[in-house]
Amino acid sequence: MGKTEKGKSSFFQKNSQLLVPLIALMLLVIFNLIRDPGFFSIELVNDNAGNPVLQGNLISILNGASELAILAMGMTLVTAASGGQDISVGCLAAIAGSVFIKVLKSGPITPWLVLGGVAACCLVAMCFGAFNGTLVSVFRVQPMIATLILFTCGRSIAYWINGGATPTVESDIVKAIGGFIPGFPIPAPILIVVLMGIFFALLFRFTTLSMYLQAVGINNNAARLNGINAVGVKLLAFVLLGLCCAVSGVIATGRLQLVNHETLLINIEMDAILAVAIGGNSLGGGKFKMIGSVIGAYIIQALTVTLYAMKVSSTDVKAYKAVVIILLVVLGSPVVKRWFGSMRNKLAVAGSRKEAA
């Protein structure tokens, strides 16, 4: 009867849920390298304005997945605490983008106005998040049903905000948010993802949020009887997701310097949920790893870029994506995991027996 050595479990034992997504990402990279050894090469070129910018497939994957990655972060929290998903994130991003533009249209565009616009749309989106969260936590409506409301009417609200127009703004600052900060060669959306990542890392480090979210998601009763305000925790998860929606809405608006309430981040909600699932998180709530969801987002984007690079037509891309996703989801499913787990147990037992002999 030997005890396993304490604290010496390997990285993958502790993070076994990241195994499948990491391997998938690696396979995608290897596949692309074999297909085209120069696929991931990055060049430093000057853009029209003469500023140095980085270009290449790797950059376009990282850049393109920004909104998705940020939404996946928030979706992870909501999934963990409520055991359900928010399907209104795309619509909420459209509302946030519209509010952003509305504020920018109110006067000459100064850095302060842009900052005010960002603050305003964050506030509005967090209020809508609180609305969703109240339905889920106080009224105990199933998350998908609760957010179906905003999913249905969100783009109409976005339409009203700017009186039905799709206004454009001419501003270098707004352009920079969706593109490059002059003189800095890495796309701004990538930096914003990093900032959001740091924000959540600090939140998890300096508050008990992660433990509360998991406790509420795993056993709401027990969490409540240990003094956790379960309603508040769920509400907070939705508010934080609202913040994520606002940030992605701002990025998406910045890319085009206009807001089209009908098409802005359309259908992204399903990709965001998918990213959470690919990241090895249970959609039933409970334990989670946010980094998994972010990796999931990059896998989805890498897949899309790869398929386009292979000259697959945009109609066909979805079908190909589906095939890969089926593979990933099955590989990450509890049944397959258990099978791998029992294989590993057998190996471990066999190994310890060999040592004993």
């Binding site: 009867m1 030997g2 005890k3 396993t4 304490k6 604290g7 479990s9 502790k14 480090r205 300096f206 508050t207 008990t208 949020l209 433990m211 509360y212 998991q214 406790a215 795993i218 056993n219 009763n221 027990a222 969490a223 409540r224 009887l225 240990n226 003094g227 956790i228 305000n229 409970g286 334990k287 147990n345 471990a348 037992v349 310890s352």
Partner: protein
């Protein structure tokens, strides 16, 4: 294989990483016998059952079943069923919204169609022959728990069952229902079914079983004839040590007599689940709520902790009026609560032992003050050692621990908050006798050494008489009496419950 043997397991070993769960265990079941499988938590009872039902694959050893030549390997529960091994689990795994007959035959048919008439006729015949008081067309949820349990057994024995495993079938039944179940077991025994009976209740083992196999730490202690094995000896075999005065764990302290300060007092306290009641507890006092199941004893303590919505009443803590309307406020007033239903209200199954231990203290410390990993480890290690919690590491999910060890983790969680008043609702249910005694000792030690007030609830009245200096007796959601001093005898309690406390 001898004549009359239905099942032989030889040299069964199974390992999980870090733990040898079973080590060369033998088990023999004869035709028409009730064979109790005994052992403390973590002794390997469940593991052995799971090997037999195909949930776990054994590493070594052989299994033989009467009528099937050679050694067999069981790969899945379905295969076990085909081989004539049926299991009825503690929690009823039937569908309450279907009829009794549907529950008995669901998933049995070969084709798509259901021969309804035939099904109801056969179900009726089987229920009659087993003497189960249920009608085939009755909805299962309208039957009592015991009858539901019996229907589960009827389903299990329906087809060529040779081995019937009953895993803690009696834990949610009252005495009369247990007797009904025993009647059914004896019936099946007479028909030649071999029954493996897993339970924690010693009296029940002696009431119904023919033979006892005792396991300890994954090893076989021995197989005994029930009639030849005195109860005390069985207990000492399960625990692996001679008994040290289980009867009186420690001298009690009578806080009432000492006129110690009142710590908590409630007047007319009520919740959505409980009628208004008065209650007080002194510092260092151990008292208890007693009464039959459903008498409202758990609801009372839930109200004290504000686990249900409090609807009225005045509460003072150390003579200061306070409002306790949610658990966190109770916690801040020095109250801890170990809930009755560990699975539903206690453990956070997927979180680690460490996180489960620090949970309550962490919540009290606040959202913006998380414990460092190092500090949390230190807390967890300390209590794992003090309470002798058997876990592979502090990182192990609590859900994978045995019941008794899960309970100790929850206990550790509350002890860590250093409560002044600790409520323990059924802390000893479904855990082995060794751990039970440990918990009783701990209760007395805490009250005497640290002056902690403790309210203790247990279905086992002896346990309460041993530890409590004051018993509050309840019947039909009302307090009907209070017993102290010489009145603390089983007779008095029963008289009070039955007669109304005069």
């Amino acid at each position: 294989m001898d004549n009359g043997t239905v099942l032989t397991m030889r040299g069964i070993s199974i390992s999980f990483p870090g733990v040898k769960a079973l080590n060369r265990v033998n088990f023999t079941l004869r035709e028409g016998e009730i064979h109790a499988l005994m052992g403390e938590n973590g002794a390997g009872k469940s593991t052995l059952i799971k090997v037999l039902t195909g949930v776990y694959a054994k590493d070594e050893g052989t299994i033989e079943i009467a009528g099937i030549p050679g050694h067999i390997t069981i790969h899945s529960p379905q295969e076990a069923q085909r081989l004539g091994i049926s299991t009825v689990y503690q929690e009823i795994t039937l569908c309450p919204n279907l009829t009794v007959a549907e529950n008995m035959y669901i998933g049995r048919g070969k084709g798509m169609g259901v021969p309804w008439k035939k099904m109801y006729r056969e179900a009726g015949a089987l229920l009659d022959s087993l003497g189960i008081p249920a009608r085939p067309r009755q909805l299962l949820k309208t039957c009592s728990l015991a009858v539901q349990q019996m229907v589960a057994i009827a389903r299990a024995v329906d087809t060529q069952c040779k081995v019937l495993i009953l895993d803690e079938p009696t834990s949610s039944l009252d005495d009369r229902e247990v007797e009904m179940l025993f009647g059914l077991m004896r019936d099946l025994k007479a028909r030649g079914v071999g029954i493996i009976f897993v339970t924690h209740f010693l009296d029940q083992v002696y009431a119904v079983s023919d033979r006892i196999t005792v396991l300890r730490n994954g090893e076989l202690v021995g197989e005994f004839e029930t009639a030849m094995l005195p109860k005390v000896e069985l207990v000492s075999k399960m625990m692996g040590k001679e008994l040290e005065g289980l009867a009186d764990v420690a001298p009690k302290r009578d806080a009432e007599e000492e006129q110690a300060k009142v710590y908590y007092q409630a007047e007319g306290l009520s919740s959505t689940e409980s009628k208004p009641f008065d209650f007080r507890i002194r510092e260092g006092e151990v008292n208890g709520f007693t009464g039959l199941l459903g008498s409202g004893r758990s609801e009372c303590v839930r109200t004290i902790f504000a686990a249900d919505r409090v609807t009225g009443g005045r509460v003072t803590v150390e003579d200061k009026p306070v409002t306790i309307n949610k658990p966190i406020k109770a916690m801040r007033n020095g109250i801890g609560y170990l809930p009755e239903d560990r699975k539903r209200d206690g453990i956070v199954a997927d979180l680690s032992v460490r996180e489960n231990i620090i949970l309550a203290l962490q919540v009290m410390k606040g959202f913006f003050h998380p414990f460092s990993r190092k500090k949390a480890e230190a807390f967890a290690d300390e209590y794992i050692k003090t309470l002798d919690i058997k876990t592979a590491s502090t990182d192990t999910p609590i859900g994978s621990l045995s019941g008794g060890n899960q309970q100790k983790v929850i206990l550790a969680r509350w002890l860590l908050t250093h409560p002044r008043y600790l409520i323990l609702d059924e802390p000893t249910r479904g855990i082995d006798i060794g751990t039970k005694t440990e918990i009783q000792r701990l209760i007395l030690k805490l009250s005497q050494e640290t002056g902690m007030s403790i309210t203790f609830i247990s279905s086992e009245i002896e346990e309460m008489l041993r530890t409590c200096s004051r018993l509050i007796v309840m019947r039909d959601r009302n307090i009907v009496g209070e017993l102290t001093g010489d009145e603390l005898t089983q007779d008095h309690v029963m008289y009070t419950i039955a007669g109304g406390g005069n």
